[in-house]
């Protein structure tokens, strides 16, 4: 039996903070014909398992837990009666904005005038790092361990080694400690922590958990269940320093080694990705190379603060409303950056409006000035007493400072 293809003005793939914030703003801009597709049985995205507080500090001036921040958005969605299909996985997207999906009622397709990619990201795995050794149970990505412990009532282990000092690893170091596990150490391959300083303080120092910088895991031991790992120090080229190998007995290895925007659907549709972010190349409206397909939130670039995810999604929603009215100008001028900058979003602009430039520096730096220039003309700059790769930087760009027809380059002075 074939179902007819239902049409919507906007289909949003992903009911996490990006998708929900975008939907609310779209509705308030007069676009009510919206469908949100959400994979889990309830919306909220990754916030559902982030039970610690610190969310909403800029947006609500309160320190909320992830689920509370999500509920604020869900309440607004319910007030407006915006349609969400839960337990629904989008399995294909075409450049024509035809979405194919599977849900509890079976396979169906919807056609949209505009699509919002809000799928978030997935975690980098052990396989991707090629960590040698046996393949016993007890090796978990940090987000998976978080999901087991905070959603499914499963304690994943008691003697834990954590590889990677990204925020998820740090948060889990604290979570494990609070639940009575022993966290033997956090091992970070870089010479500085990947996560935010406040997390190093509140998740490691508070619990006397040692942080070993310039270290990594080089072997995994155990047959049925992991029994130990071998760690070693590395040099500035990330090569193992011989003689520094140490075997650590443990029953759990947790990996917090990077987040990758989840863009399989985007690739199916022909969306161009930026290898530096793993997300789509977009303009200042969050529009991808395909007209009418927009990307927001972690699927575009991995954020540190959910408040900024909401901000980004809302700005995009304003642009989508203009797109649907046929009034969105196209953006053809490039924004590039020098090697000391990790990435910039957007990668394209048109210069006809104010916008926000988002970027991360590649290395730790003190007294850093980020410059946004068109040739020798200074468009904007920002001084940072301290710049960390872990903290995304926002630079507001004013239309009146932009020269016509010239590309922008972002660099560190």
């Amino acid at each position: 039996m074939t179902q007819g293809i239902k049409k919507y003005q906007v289909v949003i793939i992903g009911g996490g903070p990006a998708g929900l914030s975008g939907a609310i703003r779209l509705y308030d801009q007069g676009i009510e014909d919206i469908l949100i597709l959400e994979r889990e049985h309830q919306p909220g995205g990754i916030l559902r398992q982030c039970i610690h507080d610190g969310f909403g500090l800029t947006r609500f001036k309160e320190s909320l837990s992830g689920p509370e921040y999500a509920q604020r958005l869900i309440d607004e969605i319910e007030k407006r009666n915006i349609e969400i299909i839960n337990n629904c996985t989008a399995i294909d997207l075409t450049g024509d904005k035809l979405v194919s999906a599977v849900s509890k009622t079976g396979f169906f397709q919807v056609k949209a005038e505009a699509v919002v990619l809000a799928m978030g990201c997935r975690e980098r795995t052990r396989g991707a790092l090629s960590i040698p050794g046996s393949r016993p149970s007890g090796v978990y990505n940090a987000g998976v361990a978080q999901s087991y412990m905070n959603l499914h009532n499963i304690m994943v282990g008691k003697r834990v080694v954590i590889l990677g000092s990204g925020d998820i690893g740090l948060i889990m170091a604290r979570r494990f400690s609070l639940e009575g596990a022993e966290v033997l150490g956090v091992y970070e391959i870089l010479p500085f922590p990947s996560g935010l300083p406040r997390n190093v303080e509140q998740c490691l120092n508070d619990y006397d958990i040692p942080l070993y910088l310039s270290h990594t895991v080089i072997d995994v031991h155990g047959r049925g269940r992991i029994e130990a790992v071998t760690v070693a120090e590395v040099d500035q080229n990330r090569q193992v320093i011989p003689g520094t190998e140490k075997k650590i007995d443990c029953d759990t290895l947790v990996l917090s080694v990077g987040l990758i925007p989840e863009n399989e659907l985007s690739l199916s549709a022909g969306v161009e990705l930026d290898p530096r972010t793993g997300g789509a190349r977009v303009d200042e409206n969050c529009q991808t190379n395909i007209k009418g397909i927009f990307a927001v939130g972690n699927v575009l670039h991995v954020h540190d603060l959910v408040d900024f995810v909401s901000e980004e999604a809302e700005a995009a929603a304003n642009s989508i409303a203009e797109y649907l009215a046929g009034e969105l100008p196209s953006s053809t001028l490039s924004i590039t950056c020098t090697k000391d900058i990790g990435h910039v979003i957007p990668q394209k602009f048109n210069g006809k409006r104010d916008f926000i430039l988002w970027l991360r520096v590649r290395d730790l730096g003190k007294k850093v000035t980020v410059q946004v220039k068109q040739g020798e003309h200074l468009v904007a700059r920002k001084f940072l007493p301290k710049a960390l790769p872990a903290e995304m930087i926002q630079i507001p760009i004013k239309k009146e400072n932009i020269l016509p027809h010239q590309e922008i380059e972002v660099s560190i002075k």
Binding site: I51, Q71, E201
Partner: protein
């Protein structure tokens, strides 16, 4: 007799600025605070040196709930040295669905002037 002066560097966590604040102090008093850009930073380091405060979050099993766990957190900060005592109180909880976001599960935990509150809605399992 000279009083030994100790020095500690803090990264303030009150706002995203993350100012690095250097504090010189002796056993009796704080001698100098430098590097903060506002009074909140000054108050933060004073608190860290005398009586550090933290918020904590955990999950509690819910009987008969549509999902097994409700996330909970402290409604305000508690002394850092009470964290594990607070966890013991949380682990004693026996909760039954439904639970509403904001429900006070432990009032004034350990007499610290702070509650343990539910941070999710959990409906009762459908029969």
């Amino acid at each position: 007799m000279t009083i030994p002066i100790k020095n500690r560097r803090f990264t303030c966590i009150v706002c995203p600025m993350g100012c690095e604040i250097d504090v010189d102090f002796s056993d009796d008093e704080i001698i100098s605070i430098q590097g903060n850009q506002c009074v909140k930073g000054e108050n933060y380091v004073k608190s860290e040196l005398t009586n550090p405060q933290r918020t904590i979050a955990s999950s509690v099993f819910v009987k008969n709930g549509e999902i097994p766990l409700v996330s909970v957190r402290t409604s305000g900060a508690i002394p850092k040295n009470k964290i594990f005592d607070c966890m013991k109180e949380i682990q004693k909880l026996e909760i039954e669905a439904p639970v509403k976001l904001g429900d006070i599960l432990i009032s004034n935990v350990l007499n610290l002037g702070v509650d343990i509150i539910a941070t999710k809605n959990i409906a009762a399992q459908k029969q």
